[in-house]
């Protein structure tokens, strides 16, 4: 049951900003209506975050990563089943690596 100081401090920092989003969002946005620009920005942010996260690794990952990403997206679009799409992505990458790609 190891607890390192730097890890605990980072976790507390993550917890603090997360609570700020949960409760601060309610406290602030209830009092002031955010400018329309900010509202639109918040709508676009989740999708753009995940694209920005995935893009460099996928783009530089070569054919195996491209095939795995495509498989994952196709299965999720078809089934809307999170477990199935994750397994499909990992499975295709695994097979491609075994095949030497």
């Amino acid at each position: 049951m190891e607890m390192r100081a730097d890890v605990v401090i980072a976790i507390l920092g993550m917890a603090a900003v997360t609570y700020l989003c949960r409760a601060g969002g309610y406290a602030i946005l209830r009092a002031i209506r955010p400018p329309p620009f900010l509202e639109r920005l918040l709508h676009y942010l989740p999708g753009c975050i995940f694209v920005a996260y995935a893009a460099p690794g996928l783009a530089l990952g070569g054919p195996a990563a491209w095939a795995a990403g495509a498989a994952c997206i196709a299965v999720q679009a078809k089934t809307r089943n999170f477990a199935a799409s994750t397994v499909a992505g990992v499975g295709v990458l695994w097979l491609m690596r075994l095949a030497g790609a």
């Binding site: 730097d6 993550m14 946005l29 209830r30 620009f37 639109r40 694209v51 477990a83």
Partner: protein, 236 residues
């Protein structure tokens, strides 16, 4: 509207959340495995999952994990991913405005995407018991801790070398979420393409994490917000 906060409402929320367990499990398992692979102990993993309780934020922060922990990178990652939760509280104002003290600020601690979605539906159907929101949240919190612990245990048994295909599970999870977030090419294609392109360019230029993520995400989202604003303005 008269708003209640009863034990019965909380229990109803817990029952309403039961069908979500199967969908949450793989996400919790992945988060547990990846936390273990980045060297987090079970206690540290549970502390993070209990206090942060936000799967995508945890997963993304773990991608930047190192020894010693890059505090700014992981906290920024959690903040940016969880910004989406800021508008949820105001949307639940008909309930939350009638709550005080721990009932308000404690319930907000458990707010997540699923409890928000179920509660908005319950509210629109005429539900007046705000403890429903807390019930869903507490139930999902418990499921989250159990599945993350299971994942961590699994990762302990099977030590994976760096670069193992199983680590692709984090990327796969985000790609699957993107499919659900997609609102059609007219809205999302250009902002997402810009976000990905800028992130890749910043990464290739050699800027450290999480700069590619932050600059790419805000470039895409800013473009989308500016474009929609211009379209709204010209149609008036």
């Amino acid at each position: 509207m008269q708003v209640l906060f009863t034990r019965d409402g909380a229990l109803r929320g817990m029952r309403a959340a039961r069908p979500l367990v199967l969908g949450m499990m793989p996400f919790g398992l992945i988060t547990g495995v990846i936390a273990g692979q980045h060297g987090l102990s079970l206690a540290e993993t549970l502390l993070m999952s209990g206090l942060v309780f936000a799967g995508s934020a945890q997963l993304l922060a773990l991608e930047f994990w190192a020894d010693p922990v890059p505090f700014t990178a992981v906290v920024l990652a959690a903040f940016v991913v969880n910004l989406r939760m800021a508008p949820m509280g105001p949307a639940l104002a008909p309930w939350l405005d009638r709550l005080h003290g721990w009932r308000l600020w404690g319930t907000l601690t458990t707010l997540v995407d699923h409890s928000f979605a179920l509660s908005v539906a319950e509210m629109r159907a005429g539900g007046r018991d705000a403890a429903f929101l807390l019930g869903v949240g507490v139930f999902l919190w418990a499921v989250w801790l159990v599945t993350v612990a299971m994942g961590h245990g699994f990762g302990d048994v099977v030590r994976l070398p760096p670069g193992h295909p199983l680590f692709f599970a984090a990327t796969a999870a985000f790609l699957a979420m993107l499919v659900s977030l997609w609102r059609g090419a007219a809205r999302d294609l250009l902002p997402w393409a810009l976000a990905g392109g800028v992130a890749l360019a910043v990464h290739v230029l050699g800027l450290p994490a999480p700069m590619p993520l932050l600059i790419g995400a805000f470039a895409g989202a800013t473009f989308g917000a500016l474009r929609d604003g211009r379209q709204n303005g010209s149609s008036r």
